[in-house]
């Protein structure tokens, strides 16, 4: 039987084309598509398989941010209280911190406490089976602690292999293990969380050296010099993110809920 080389070439090109198409989409897209005869099926941000509507009005957008919210009235109340706390306490504190404390000191404080979060990142890398990341995280910790004078300077930023490492947390590990969001809750001060991430938050706190110190020396908890910098250092960024999510919205609460769930789904897919 004679095989026409042009037909073979065609088949090869068609196969290669679909392979390229699929691999590029898999690598870079938040949404991947499995082609069907009519409307294609896609995987949304939360990993659920949904079908694109022919008229594009009923596609993934309606499902990307869905989460059970059984205690919404209570959550809305807590959200309102948090909003007032952010507005009248945290924002002035953050402004004062940015004004009074020089930029170089702020950066040093940020770096020290960021370096102290090493156990959380390392343990969760291991729990997610990312051994290479765990190794790089350890390397980063040693470099910053030794060459960066206890983590004040982030020397690792000068080493390309140690920049932009993933920042895993316990909630993300639970997601990797296949545990869903569960119900949505708004915690006092901490803000939006899913049930899964609330348990994860407890895990993160348990992996924090600042928490260990407070267990061994309970009096230290009341020493603002130890505990305050860790809280204040991230205020500016957290308030910035909160503003970005809740400004120019129809409903602050729903906007924050939707953004939180989508963002966490993306973090879990990394």
């Amino acid at each position: 039987m004679k095989i026409n080389p042009i037909i073979v070439l065609c088949l090869f090109m068609m196969a290669a084309q679909s392979a390229i198409h699929a691999s590029v989409a898999e690598k870079t897209a938040a949404v991947t598509v499995v082609k069907k005869a009519k409307s294609p099926k896609i995987k949304s941000h939360d990993g659920k398989s949904v079908r694109l509507s022919d008229d594009d009005l009923n596609d993934e957008y309606g499902r990307a941010a869905s989460v059970p919210d059984p205690i919404q009235p209570l959550n809305r109340g807590t959200f309102w209280v948090n909003h007032q706390i952010y507005r009248y306490i945290f924002r002035p504190v953050s402004r004062a911190y940015d004004t009074v404390v020089p930029s170089v000191v702020r950066k040093g404080v940020f770096n020290v406490f960021d370096n102290l979060e090493f156990p959380k990142r390392f343990v969760n890398d291991l729990l997610q089976g990312r051994l290479k990341s765990a190794g790089q995280e350890s390397e980063k910790f040693v470099v910053n602690t030794v060459a960066g004078v206890g983590g004040v300077m982030k020397v690792s930023d000068r080493i390309p292999a140690l920049t932009d490492l993933p920042r895993p947390d316990t909630g993300q590990t639970f997601a990797k293990w296949g545990i869903g969001h569960g119900a949505y809750v708004v915690l006092p001060i901490f803000g939006p969380r899913s049930a899964r991430d609330t348990v994860g938050l407890a895990g993160d706190i348990a992996l924090s050296p600042v928490f260990w110190v407070s267990i061994w020396f309970p009096a230290v908890v009341w020493m603002p010099a130890v505990t305050t910098p860790d809280s204040v250092r991230t205020l500016h960024d957290r308030l910035g993110a909160y503003d970005a999510v809740t400004e120019n919205t129809l409903d602050r609460y729903l906007a924050a809920r939707s953004s939180y769930i989508q963002n966490r789904s993306k973090a879990a897919s990394k």
Binding site: A30, V31, H45, A65, A244, E247, T249, L250, L254, S258
Partner: protein, 195 residues
């Protein structure tokens, strides 16, 4: 005769379809890059936020498909809007999107945008992932463009958060309470009170 030409026709078809895929992502990328450069240039020279908003408006109107964005943000309820209500909703949502977009910029502070390989998750759709560095932070931003809209942006996904999915959640709640009127009222309220 026809049997002999079949392989050749197949080859031409393969080449054409592969070429069309590359051409479509190229065209979408080209349009997006031009718009990003224009916005960056305007942001660099804008004396204040108002000037920035006014300056970038024509560029955004050229690269964003406000009609599609509004339709998708509203979802299935869009069919129950009258043509007048649809027009009003598009106008209000356009203002809200421009305000949301420009609120993220500080005049004079420039973002650095790195473009990654584009993909086509569905026919006629292209997604262009980028990394934006702004004020010392890095953000993953994915631009979604549609061929049916002359390769205009129909959604922006920042750190996994789709702008359209986010507004859909809010529009759904309003629509369930009072239909199209409630959505338009909520848009007006938001524009009157938000920054």
């Amino acid at each position: 005769m026809m049997k002999r030409q079949l392989p050749l026709l197949l080859l031409v078809f393969c080449l054409f379809s592969r070429g069309a895929l590359i051409a479509s992502t190229d065209e979408a990328e080209k349009r997006l890059k031009t718009a990003v450069n224009q916005v960056t240039e305007i942001a660099a020279h804008a004396p204040d936020r108002n000037a920035l908003a006014a300056g970038v408006k024509p560029t955004l109107q050229n690269i964003l498909s406000f009609e599609t964005m509004t339709r998708r943000a509203v979802g299935p309820g869009w069919r129950q809007f009258t043509p007048e209500q649809q027009k009003e909703a598009v106008g209000l949502f356009t203002t809200l999107i421009i305000r949301t977009y420009t609120a993220k910029f500080t005049p004079g502070e420039l973002p650095s945008v790195t473009f990654k390989a584009a993909s086509s998750p569905a026919p006629g759709r292209v997604e262009i992932p980028t990394t934006s560095s702004y004020k010392g932070s890095h953000y993953d931003v994915v631009y979604r463009l549609d061929e049916s809209d002359d390769w205009r942006i129909t959604d922006v996904v920042i750190e996994g958060v789709s702008m359209i999915a986010n507004y859909r959640t809010q529009f759904d709640a309003e629509f369930k309470q009072g239909g199209a009127e409630a959505v338009i009222k909520a848009l007006n309220r938001s524009l009157a009170t938000s920054k």
